[in-house]
Amino acid sequence: MAAKRRNRTRTTLVALVTFALLAAFVVRLADIQVVRAQALNAEADGRRGVSQTIFGTRGPIVDAAGTVLAESVDRWDLTVSPRYTRDLQPGVDGVDELVTVGDALTRIGAITGDDPYDLQATLDAELERNPDSDYLVLSTGLTARQFEAIRDLGLPYAYLRLNPQRVYPAGSVAGNLVGFTGVTEPLAGLERSEEACLDAEDGSRTFDRGADGTPIPGSVVTTDPVDGGTVRLTIDADVQYQVQQLTAQYTAQLGARSGTTIVMRTDGSIAAVAEAPTVDPNDPTASRSQDRGSRAFTAAYEPGSIFKTFAYAAMLDLGLTTNDEELSVPWTYTAPGVRVRDAHSHPVEQWTSAGILVNSSNSGMVRLAEDMDRADYFDYLDRFGFGERTAVDFAGEQAAALRDPASLDPQTRLNVLFGQGIAATPIQVASAYQALANGGVHLPAHMIDSCTSADGEVTQPQLPEGERVVEAGTAEQTLAALENVVTDYGYDTFPIEGYRIAAKTGTAQMAYEDGSGYDPDRMMISVAGVFPVDDPQFVVVTMYDSPQTQRTSAGAIPAFHDMVNLLIRHYDVPPSTTEQPDVPLEWTADQQ
């Protein structure tokens, strides 16, 4: 009987212990799996899980022929953990002999080009600030070769961090247009305005790693990065380089503050926009801030005589004059409250309308335009593209809005005929000459050919429709008159034998920044033209601000000649096959 009872007690005890154990396990299970699950998972991931950013590559910017103007490359930043810096012992750290921190910094300096003493000072300063510091950037922008050299030093306290950067292999070629990027974001030019196409999406890669860092099979989860698209420009890098070189040479030769040259094709696409001084986007801080953009788009000015072309075309188109209308032109024009003078005094000349344009007579232009309604004139200017930003929509581009023609004072009503009291950007001027080169049809100026996304999808920018400004005959007549500027203006540096070139010179007065009148010491000399006239292909505008050695438009004439010359050479433009039409510039009473 006693044995039986003892037996039952033992059974109960065992059962109790079993249940207690079970309960303990259940509680522990719930604790681990439910209560602390998140924290434990995180800890586990932290111990063996690794998350890496896979950088998407920002898209390149290429010229019309595919020459790379901007691209992204891998660069590395060298970071160290200051509190773990120590001398490496042979036998312990896998080095053959003692490598002190100083030795290591000397070797780093030899690779990166930094002064080892500077590196040491940076390191000491950081340790002084915080003895437990675990992070210090010693050097940035290391190339692949430098990366490998530093990695081969085998410093346990150094870490190389990938930091893709932007490089511009062609340097300052089109640097004014391409722009540049800052540390995290694009700052200027097309880098900024084409961000939507160029920008890349970063991906990520997470995996569990073994003790030696090898990913454990099956644990790798990858989100692929999306590379940025390729922006193709209408710019021709070779032409851009040569035009830039010439612009810089002439700017230096003339002692000018700056020079700008635009080469545009007849379809409105821009082949080159050169500036001097300009920016090398690899090193934007080497240029003054005002030289880092593109004056062709951002610097509106009063264009002066090269603007007469548009007033003249408008008058031809309105039927108010013809190339051979005969006038007697004194050098001044006076009416109540207004006074207009030519650049130089001259006796009363018997010029035709074309002669007035060729000799750039202000008083003649005013006489010709006596019957022109300024509202009509401003309609023409509007259709030529003045008063609004071009379709390029360059970062910081000016619109230079047209004023209401009804609100002009009597003097300005006359001045707008020869490009004073009216502002325009150089690109607007080039774009307006394009209309004359294209048989009177103005096509939107553009610089972006296409955007090709990483998966090969090509999108072309939406451009506004072209618009007829003047009749084809008017454009032809205007160019015929302008051909005489090249041949009969009195400069043998102007024409190129065998080629029909139409151009207009201008010496514009520059207003003071505060708008208090014209600066007598500041002139903008310029030449704008179209060639070859029998089959127009290019528009060239070249201008120099405040030249010192030659202060009239004659200074810009050799520059224009050379620009046209290099385009003919570069594109093998054949000589004109037709003769220049005979447009009388003067008349004599005897002939009648």
């Binding site: 062609a170 340097g171 070629v173 230096a252 090193d283």
Partner: protein
Amino acid sequence: MTTAAVLDLHAQPQQRPDEAPQRHLRALPAPALRRAPRLVHGVVALAGLAGIVVAQLGLSVAISEGAYRLSALQGQSTALARSEQSLAEDVAVLSSPQNVAVSADELGMLAGQPSQFLTLAGAATAGGPDGLHMQAPTVDRSGMYVPNALLAEQPAAAATVQDAQTEAARTYPGMLLPAGEASVEGAAPATPVTPTVPPAAAEQPAPGTLLPATAGE
């Protein structure tokens, strides 16, 4: 109890008159002595188990070996991509217009003659354009007109530019200097790598002197 025995139980007992009544109770037959398991079975079982373990081990070794191989190959691919990229960078800089121009200059090359054009109508050829008016060299005392900071990393091109600068800055007696540079002696050229201040610049130019446009900064 065997099946036969069970059937026996269910069968109606019948008394056979001519047979002596059988005894209902019998002793169970002695169970046959259980034979010891044969060694071969144990060996087969254990060998099978070992085989499975080894196969499992081999499989995971093979998989992780693959992972190591993959990791190594990926490392190699990254390293190759790096060197491909740095070589491509070199090519891009070397093919930049600046480098081509400087190298061509260094080799003594001149711009080619413009194309000649044949007219189908007549037998004459029409010449291309005349020469450029600008005769200045591509590199002058202040460096390239169209600079490229990346070119400084190319030793050959950088040396050429520096030579050309030194040449351009060399003065001779009676030479016209740009306004603002008073001294002829020791006017060291600025180098692109480490710009040195020419001794002449230490002297303040007289007030009102026109500085050369390129020295604006």
